[in-house]
């Protein structure tokens, strides 16, 4: 027994070293698992391997570094197909923010294409929707807080806030995995943000649209009370890859080799 504990401890220490000093600097380990997502009917449960996720959303400062090295993603150079006219609307020119914007603010008004490219350049990738949801179902003390009333109320009250203010990272809580700002700061891109609406794979039958409008909302969902999740899925299905929105940012993830 003692030996096993020791081994676990050593293993843990090894991981700790890896995460602190290895390539995964600035990332947290999210332990994989199996969960039943909002969509897809009762029978669907998804198994996700462990992965790393950025502790904070990508900031303006970090994004400017990326723009310096990758001129074709600058505001003046971007191809319209990859980002709409709102792209970097908070920049006054290619590499400078407007006066009231903060370098430590989460970068927003970036398209999915740009976010994807950014992560690729860091040797990372965008998290999948399932990974993001798994990481984001944690509150400060537990990996799955979806049944906690206060947790859902917190999310709903953030989604309700009318005007968009304060985007500085790290001001919300640190969750069970050590990750900040998954809720309460900005919406975040995921790799497959539109798969729920577009792919028939995750749907259990051919009848009905199974979309998130009206009746569809009650029809396709497992947990009717999880209105907070509804709103995330609704948001995701309202966007396209070139959209650049004032309250939509991103962070990167990485698979464990």
């Amino acid at each position: 027994m003692i030996q096993i504990k020791k081994i676990v401890f050593l293993f843990g220490a090894f991981f700790f070293l890896l995460t602190s000093f290895g390539q995964e600097e600035g990332m947290a380990l999210v332990k994989g698992g199996t969960y039943t997502p909002l969509y897809g009917g009762d029978s669907i449960s998804i198994t996700i391997p462990s992965f790393y996720m950025d502790i904070y959303p990508v900031t303006n400062a970090e994004y400017i570094e990326f723009l310096k090295e990758n001129p074709k993603w600058r505001k003046s150079k971007i191809i319209r197909l990859f980002a709409d006219e709102h792209y970097l609307s908070h920049f006054q020119d290619d590499l400078t923010l407007k006066p009231n914007e903060g370098m430590r603010d989460a970068v927003t008004s970036v398209s999915w294409h740009a976010a994807k490219e950014y992560c690729k350049c860091q040797g990372k990738r965008l998290p999948t929707m399932d990974e993001w949801e798994l990481a984001a179902m944690a509150d400060e003390t537990s990996p799955d807080a979806r049944d906690k009333k206060e947790f859902n109320q917190y999310l709903l009250s953030w989604y309700e806030k009318s005007k968009f203010k304060g985007k500085e990272i790290g001001k919300t809580y640190k969750n069970y995995w050590g990750i900040y700002d998954l809720h309460g700061l900005v919406w975040e891109w995921t790799a497959d943000f539109n798969s729920v609406l577009l792919s028939q794979d995750t749907r259990n039958s051919a009848e009905g649209n199974n979309n998130l409008y009206c009746g569809g909302a009650a029809y396709g969902a497992n947990d009717l009370k999880n209105y907070a999740a509804f709103m995330r899925y609704a948001f995701r299905s309202s966007v396209r890859g070139d959209y650049s929105i004032k309250n939509l940012g991103f962070r990167c993830a990485k698979s464990i080799k």
Binding site: N152, F164, Y213, C214, A217, Y227, V239, K246
Partner: protein, 482 residues
């Protein structure tokens, strides 16, 4: 352009002649009506509606609708986060006619937090337009539809969770007039009911948001006409003159409650039930389902204030479902005589009704609070007046003749402060004389604590020509201990 006009004129006159003087416009199926012109829709904030379409030809109508999320007062001193079509609850009124081709531009403001869409019950097509109108913040979406059926229709947001979007105020009305237009009337107004579920109780000060649990339990804190307690009361009440015909475009956004719409003291001459083509006459109370509408027409016969209520009546006097129509003009005694005689009727065992007392614990907590400053009393007092007193004593304390004595320039009130405190605390029954007029009515005891009584009475004494007396909490507590 001209050619087409001439051509259609020709066809039209041929139809006229061939049918032997038939007056009705061409009975082309609405979907085949050609539109030859284009115009921007004039849209109005409630309680107003745009000009009638009259005898204009069907047109291509461009509707510009902006979605706005913002914080505003839902009751005096109570803030709420509203989501709206066009910056008001209910949303901007759209007026079109059968055969119009509506090009709908739905714009989601970039500062908004969420995606939205619109389901118009006037649309024949998937989702009533919702499927084609899902729009992210900072985007605009355009879709178009042909108006086929005349009627008054609800529109609302249908984005998940639908109940939350509607519950926050995302609904309004679109009127599709028949080709020949609706018959002209003297006044038209737009009134829409909605139930609100907030994180605070009715009247609880502060900033509140939607409460999902209350919404699922279908127990609202507020039931309102036009999105705010007193939105159509006092200076903002609807106006008409004796002899005029008033048309109300009535809607119910829900999300949950069905409205028993009633006008106190006015029979509705004609009601287009459901906002549809069937006209019922001499209606006292009409049902307006959630997501439904009705058009009510009536000639106002006598001057005075008429209250619009949801006759599921606790909602009217306790949750805010109250609006007023102010009718001025000549008093025709043939229609309404006023009080002819009054006397005392006291059956055995009568007693003043009591409202439930607040729980002990709450009382103790409140004892600890210090005396409010005069400014605070006036602010709190105004809020409490707006929640508790105004339904009977009226927004400016003017009272209601024959029923509720005035609080403005009131000799009875100014003569005895202790008595006023007692009445507020314990209620009053029996005859009193106020400013030379006799009242014989009943006021229930109010469930206010001592501080609140001090505040509301101070507010009343400092307003409307009263003697300006400031009531202290101690004064009130002393009387309660007696």
């Amino acid at each position: 352009m001209k050619k087409i006009n001439l051509f259609s004129l020709l066809i039209f006159s041929m139809v006229l002649f061939s049918c032997g003087g038939e007056e009705k416009p061409s009975k082309v199926k609405p979907e085949y009506i050609e539109v030859v012109s284009e115009r921007k829709a004039v849209m109005t904030a409630p309680p107003y509606v745009p000009e009638p379409t009259g005898n204009r030809k069907p047109t291509k109508l461009i509707v510009d609708m902006e979605i706005l999320e913002y914080v505003d007062e839902i009751a005096p001193g109570v803030e709420y986060t509203f989501w709206t079509f066009g910056g008001t609850v209910p949303g901007s009124f759209i007026r079109a006619k059968v055969g119009d081709e509506i090009e709908f531009h739905l714009k989601n403001h970039p500062d908004n937090q969420l995606p939205h869409n619109i389901d118009l019950h006037a649309v024949n097509g998937p989702g009533g337009g919702a499927v084609s109108s899902f729009v992210a913040p900072g985007r605009e979406i355009v879709f178009s539809f042909k108006t086929l059926n005349p009627g008054l229709y609800v529109y609302h947001c249908a984005t998940a969770p639908v109940g939350m979007h509607i519950g926050n105020g995302m609904y309004g009305l679109i009127l599709i007039e028949p080709e020949e237009g609706l018959p002209p009337v003297d006044r038209e107004y737009y009134v829409m009911q909605g139930d609100f579920y907030t994180t605070g109780e009715y009247g609880e000060p502060g900033s509140h948001v939607f409460d999902m649990q209350k919404a699922m339990d279908e127990i609202p804190d507020y039931v309102l006409f036009n999105g705010k307690v007193g939105a159509l009361m006092g200076e903002s009440s609807l106006k008409a003159e004796v002899g005029e015909t008033v048309r109300l475009y009535l809607g119910n956004g829900g999300p949950n409650l069905v409205s028993s719409f009633h006008i106190i003291g006015e029979i509705m001459d004609r009601v287009y039930e459901g906002g549809a083509s069937f006209i019922n006459t001499n209606v006292q109370t009409t049902l307006i389902p959630a997501g439904g509408a009705a058009i009510a027409e009536f000639k106002v016969d006598a001057p005075g204030e008429y209250l619009l209520v949801d006759h599921s009546i606790m909602r009217a006097f306790n949750k805010g479902a109250l609006a007023a129509l102010d009718v001025t003009g000549y008093d025709d005694k043939k229609v309404y005589t006023g009080t002819i005689q009054e006397g005392i009727y006291l059956p055995e065992g009568s007693r003043i009704q009591l409202q439930p007392k607040r729980p002990e614990v709450e009382m103790k907590e409140e004892v600890a609070i210090d005396e409010m400053s005069l400014d605070e009393k006036l602010i709190v007092g105004e809020r409490l007046y707006g929640q508790t007193c105004f339904a009977c004593h009226q927004p400016q304390g003017q009272g209601m003749e024959g029923a509720f004595p005035p609080l403005a320039k009131s000799d009875y009130l100014n003569a005895d402060v202790d008595r006023a405190i007692e009445i507020t605390m314990h209620g009053l029954r029996g005859e009193i004389t106020v400013n030379g007029v006799k009242y014989n009515s009943m006021m229930p005891a109010q469930s206010l604590n001592d501080e609140e009584i001090a505040a509301v009475l101070t507010y009343i004494y400092k307003n409307w020509g009263n003697d300006g007396h400031e009531v202290t909490t101690k004064q009130v507590s002393d009387i309660r201990r007696r």
